[in-house]
């Protein structure tokens, strides 16, 4: 088993919480893991990505080779497109559709979403809206984990344990709410896939 995921977003959006949940699930499944992160200057509202590699064999490169990512998982639509050169032809693009506009020349959203829909295997999900519907305005990242989970060879139970692990400190309530958010993201992706067929 070999799984390469590019996590994308804008500095400050917290993509590393996604990496932590996926990483936890991988380690609990006794898989190996490498996770290249962006620290430093770009964290000030710049473009950030993380390369998450999971495998049952030793992993060499910390970086995912161009053209071979199984998934781009992005919390921001324009950012999802920036890493297309990494996506394998069979790979999935799973992206939030709520734009993060901290630059003046942000392109037309319709153009961005249109480009997302050009990718053969994609899910475009308004994760911010779904998180709000579930009374979890800050749960956008877990909606994305839920949506992505449908296409990942990781057990859903392990991902849930991962959520339990990272939110444990904040209390049972927060854990429950994030689990519900995860389920919502996953259901949305199921419907999206069914509709696309």
């Amino acid at each position: 088993m070999r799984l390469d995921i590019i996590l994308a977003g804008v500095g400050g959006q917290g993509i590393l919480s996604i990496a932590t949940v996926l990483g936890y699930a991988a380690l609990e499944s006794r898989l190996q893991l490498k996770q290249a992160e962006v620290h430093g200057m770009s964290q000030r509202g710049g473009e950030v990505q993380s390369h998450l590699r999971i495998s049952d064999r030793p992993i060499y490169s910390d970086l995912i080779p161009a053209g071979s990512a199984d998934m781009i998982l992005s919390v921001e639509p324009m950012e999802s497109l920036r890493y297309l050169p990494f996506l394998s032809p069979e790979g999935w693009l799973v992206t939030n559709t709520t734009p993060f506009r901290n630059i003046d020349n942000y392109p037309e959203l319709d153009h961005v979403i249109g480009e997302v829909k050009q990718v053969p295997h994609h899910v475009a999900i308004d994760a911010d809206a779904i998180a709000r519907e579930h009374n979890n305005a800050r749960g956008m990242n877990m909606v994305m984990v839920g949506a992505a989970s449908l296409f990942l060879p990781l057990e859903l139970e392990r991902l849930k344990e991962g959520i339990g692990y990272i939110f444990a400190r904040k209390g049972k309530d927060v854990v429950e709410r994030n689990l519900a958010t995860l389920e919502a993201g996953r259901s949305f992706a199921e419907e999206y896939r069914a509709a696309a067929r």
Partner: protein, 538 residues
Amino acid sequence: MKNNTLLLLGDEAVAQGALDAGISGFYAYPGTPSTEIMEYALNSQQAAEGNVHRMWSANEKTAVEAALGMSYAGKRTMAMMKHVGLNVAADAFVNSALTGANGGLIVTVADDPSMHSSQNEQDSRFFGKFAMIPMLEPSNQQEAYEMCFSAFELSERHETPVLLRLTTRIAHSRAGITRREPLPQHGITLPQDKRQFVLLPAIARKRYKVLLSRQEAFEQEALDSPFNRYFDGDDKRLGIIACGIAYNYVMENYQDSGCPHPLLKLSQYPVPRKLIERLVGECDRILVVEDGMPVVEEMLRGLLDRDLRVQGRISGELPRDGELNPALLRKALGFEAQPGGTVPDGIVPRPPALCAGCSHIDSMNAINEAVRDVYGDGHVFSDIGCYTLGALPPYNSINSCVDMGASITMAKGAADAGLYPSAAIIGDSTFTHSGMTALLDAVVENTNMLVCILDNSTTAMTGGQDSHAHGRLVQICEGLGVHPEHIRTLRPTPKTHDEFVEIIKEELAYEGVSVIIPQRECVQTKTRRTKLAKQGAQ
């Protein structure tokens, strides 16, 4: 997770390795991508229990010197910095090769190929070679951990400082680390030769001969090192030398088949010539793969560069600059590129920017109105920190960013040349790193210039480490001899804009050194502090 396995960044693996190898003191100045070494040590329970020294230093030079002092006293110690920090520490670093070490001394330097967060991509291996000391360069996080043990042993066996070189990709990538049984710390033992650290010319000459005489032993260590490995291969048309992390990028392309070519994995220096001779002897062509500058490739090619069998960054098989990656190696190894998508039109870059509500915004706006709008562009020297983003639109406020502290000294030089007004903008942490001596130069001549020390109570650019300047800036400036009437403080907010502009104008009218200190905490550290306080209160 299994008890002795941890998921750590390369930086954290170094900190944990040093702790498990019995370190007694960490010394560092923050700098991407090295910062997380100290941050890990600061948060480590193990370090707290062992009473391990772990505090930020004023700059990289003070860090290396303090570490040298701890080594003198017989204990294991490490100084950590980013690559350009080694320039600042170079005097101490190069001379420590002559004094030698007593307790194990590691200088850990994180290079930043592709300049993700830096102003150049210098390769610290040049410094290691220059100082003529052993060097280690991990290919993965586990090696980074192991190398702390080996480097301390190497350092003590040969009484020499050891350079541990990381690059961004190792430093900031997480992987599973298997720990070893921790070692106890050393007690105090002074060097046997009490003159060893006295580099008077007569002694220094002797010490230099000692250093020269150790070179052979250093090379033998590299030859015997478990980190350097020669893998044989049947296809001898090509031989590969893969330095540090570059080994991974090579192997990524052979993970299913295994590498068919003879391959030298090089992670400890000085370069062991016997292994190179073997590779060169049996292969038609040599590809040197190194993340950073073509240090080894240049050595092999030599000055006259007639041996066209050696390839790499100089010959163009690999790009001359920038970070390596698996795709670049794929091409250099002669494989076809993997098909992938292209970035659609209209996808624009998203450069980093000052946070909403950042006090630097107010400073930029005031300086623009008082200086640029009155005297035109070109009067504002600046420095390195979040405020360097004032170079970008919409501010376009600053005209320089060279090295830490250079704002004040460049403003002085320009003022000496007759430029008026000549202003410097420097952050609080950068000021105590290397701006104080610069200000003293200006005070001594009462140079007609303006210095703005942007005091946000932290070292923000690198993630908000405590700043040595905190609460001391006015006293420091007074102590350096700036006239108290011309040390002005204010709280920069949109509301105090007019007052700020007025103060700048008044100080520009004063013929001499003026210092303005806008003081308001960084939004990020403030939010974090408030959050922590809330959690504490619960």
